[in-house]
């Protein structure tokens, strides 16, 4: 299951953060990189608390840190930019 979070941060090139819950293993890498954006829920899956909290750079770093590539980033034109 894919959970989508719309991002409306001013000046950001990223419009959507998607978490693939089937891929997420709860390793919590994203939280260590961007604790203002992500947290683990009661099922130990990553969820987005605040899609506008972090810079684009921090979001990309968090997505890149995921060992299962469960974080998907989409730009303003609807194009997937990671992974």
């Amino acid at each position: 299951m894919r959970q989508e979070y719309v991002r409306t941060k001013e000046g950001s090139n990223i419009s959507k953060v998607i978490i693939d819950r089937d891929l997420c293993i709860g390793a919590a890498s994203c939280i260590a990189v961007s604790a203002t954006t992500f947290k683990l829920d009661d099922e130990n899956k990553a969820v987005v608390m605040d899609p506008d909290a972090a810079s684009d750079e921090e979001l990309i770093m968090a997505a890149e840190s995921c060992p299962t590539k469960a974080i998907i980033l989409v730009d303003k034109l609807g194009k997937q930019i990671y992974p």
């Binding site: 709860g26 390793a27 919590a28 890498s29 260590a32 990189v33 009661d42 130990n44 299962t68």
Partner: protein, 410 residues
Amino acid sequence: MKKFKYLIIGGGVSGTTAAETVRQNDKSGSIAIVSEEPYPAYSRVMLSKHDFYLPEGENKIWLKTPDWYIKENIGFFSGKKAVNLDANKKIVRLDGGEEIEYDKLLIATGNCAKKWVIPGSDKNNVFSLRVLDDARAIKEKIKTAKKAVAVGGGFISFEMCDLLRQFNIETTLILRESYYWEPILDKNEAVLVENALITNGVKILKNSEVSEIMGGDSVAGVILKNGIQINCDMIIAGIGATCSLDWLGNSGIKTNKGILANEYLETNLSDIWTTGDVAEFNDLILEEIVQLGNWLNSQQQGRVAGINMASNKTPFRLVSSYSTTGFGITISFVGDVRPEADRTIISRGSLESRSWARLLVKDGEIIGATIINRTPELSLISKLISADFKVSGHENELTDPGFDLKKLII
């Protein structure tokens, strides 16, 4: 002799991330990776996860395809091992005798499973889990195995017990210690983990050690030091990891358990960096020289070393963590969890609620935590560590499991 501007020894997540970062910062500089395993980069974390052991599971582990190295113009010496470093001449020799010259070198060789040396430990179906070939062999065996013995406590052992039980394999866990993961967890936390294991059918034998492995070519059982015999047709030994540093013997590089590095991940030798499991580095947040064997540390250090090698000098600064789920419980480690004498402990939680967190405090600041079934607090505790939060005056709040840690974060 081949020459590369950037030579990276180690093709795991740290070395691969470093190569990728170097390429982002230097479009034309020549880069090569030397990797002991004959595979493109994959997610080592996945080797102990249930998904890998499903029929198509291997498709999920790849971080890079063989094409990626070609597309990024990164030389890839796979299935090759570095056997000598001459730091004066800036030459690394590989096991086939080939020599490679470098301008800048990164050593990200990771660590390997400790070799288990007892009578019979060379028999078939005695496994450790570190690399893809180990995981493939385990995956093949669990299709037919009926009884397994797991040895040692820790993340991998916990995950492998969960896996074995999901495949309906009768599982006995042998622990040398008096409780699970002693002394990293305390007894109360261990009770939560042990109860989860026992409830799901794992038999735990504590204060026990295997003295001999029985069988012909293949394992048929184990004999413990106290004489007890347990029949089994496979063994998974999780007895710890060690870094192989022999090849650096004459190089002049400073080592302890790992390769020593400063906060920029530079070694004592010029133009040589080290990252990941093998690096013993100056951690700016913990204010200590530490060696951390976790995925995130490796990945993020690779990124910072890549920047340092190709561009600006950047210090490494991160509170790393690792988290796993099995048998319905979640265990997370954050920061430095070593129970050294100079740390005090703040516990929050209760056995009744099946949740527990232990905050490790040094010089008045939280430096690490072990967290069981309180995962929503993981990010908050990470923030407290990275903000150098002073615990003084907040002890009552921190020990109250109902207190919302968010209130402590400004």
